[in-house]
Symmetry: C2
Subunit: 198 residues, 2 copies
């Protein structure tokens, strides 16, 4: 059915069909310029009220990496220890502060999010969308992502994000995949399980 | 910085740079085959424990469209009334039932999600990721998406999704964009606002 798509077949493979969650990486570093190129691409994808709450926290220093490793679960710890680049993807619970600039035609936008609970909910939902875009962006850079939610989020927020208003949502290892970086492809739901018509 | 990406420049435009949230569409229908091609592409993108909780609920009948319109807010109602295809993107709170098949190497996966609150949280988070992938998939089909969160989710869940275990997260209009389908591009956060190094 690929002829129903405007996306060239080799790009379908790059972004979706052959792209895989990597569990091991080569030593090749991932540069700040590569991260910037990914961000400059995926920043255009939509969020509700253009809220853009996702923050990409690059864990570059040894000290930060060690702090993070303490909070990773089981086999995620080893992967995170050896990955060329590790990023904490977080939701900025103070995202409403930028709405007067990013959503200027609705001056009341910021006041729409004065309730802390509703604001954190919106931050987490829209950052979740952006994590989806970001994973596609990593693949668009020819790299592999290894997103993980198996870690102690409260510990990470306390040890690495204290005072920033950021709440971690996922940790992502990024790099060139090593040989045998993948497990077997797991089954996907059939069309009729995922698509329902009313 | 596009040379740092493996994705061809015209595909960067198709998926991100020139793709826009459409507010008006042509009359050209969107077929079930197009939706199937989109699903068959984006189903491969990752979710935690391969949980795949997103359901694409196509609102095809007049009756369902009228029920949905009642719950859309303000200007979203007109857009939703005229779009060639409208989909409710929902989280299946019973996603854990398929884990024995989709995550077979961890037989305890289903029991990991016996708590209703934690399971709904996981369903919503992973469905959020998948909504991000789905929007990219709509664009990969050469179509435009108009995702909306401005609607009464409780009303939609009661009137259209009762008894299914599905919780609506977003409503998306899909089709070929009409002329003047866009507002001006809104500002994106600068790199240094979104990318932080520790």
């Amino acid at each position: 059915m690929t002829d129903l798509l405007a996306l060239p077949s080799d790009v379908q493979d790059l972004l979706f069909r052959e792209a895989r969650t990597a569990n091991a990486f080569t030593d090749e570093p991932v540069s700040d310029e590569q991260v910037a190129a990914i961000y400059d691409l995926v920043k255009f994808a939509p969020t509700a009220m253009n809220s853009q709450p996702m923050r990409i926290v690059l864990v570059r220093s040894d000290d930060a990496r060690q702090k993070l490793l303490k909070h990773m679960s089981g086999s995620n710890r080893d992967k995170t220890e050896s990955a060329p680049l590790v990023a904490i993807l977080a939701a900025d619970t103070n995202f409403h502060e930028t709405l007067p600039r990013t959503f200027p035609h609705f001056p009341g936008a910021k006041d729409f999010f004065l309730d802390d609970t509703a604001r954190e909910h919106a931050a987490r939902f829209n950052a979740g969308l952006q994590i989806g875009y970001f994973i596609i962006g990593v693949r668009a850079a020819g790299l592999a992502a290894g997103p993980m939610t198996g870690y102690d989020a409260t510990g990470v927020d306390t040890d690495l994000l204290e005072g920033t208003g950021l709440k971690s949502i996922a940790v992502v290892n990024i790099g060139r995949p090593a040989e045998n970086a993948w497990f077997d492809r797991l089954p996907r739901l059939a069309h009729d399980e995922a698509v329902i018509t009313l």
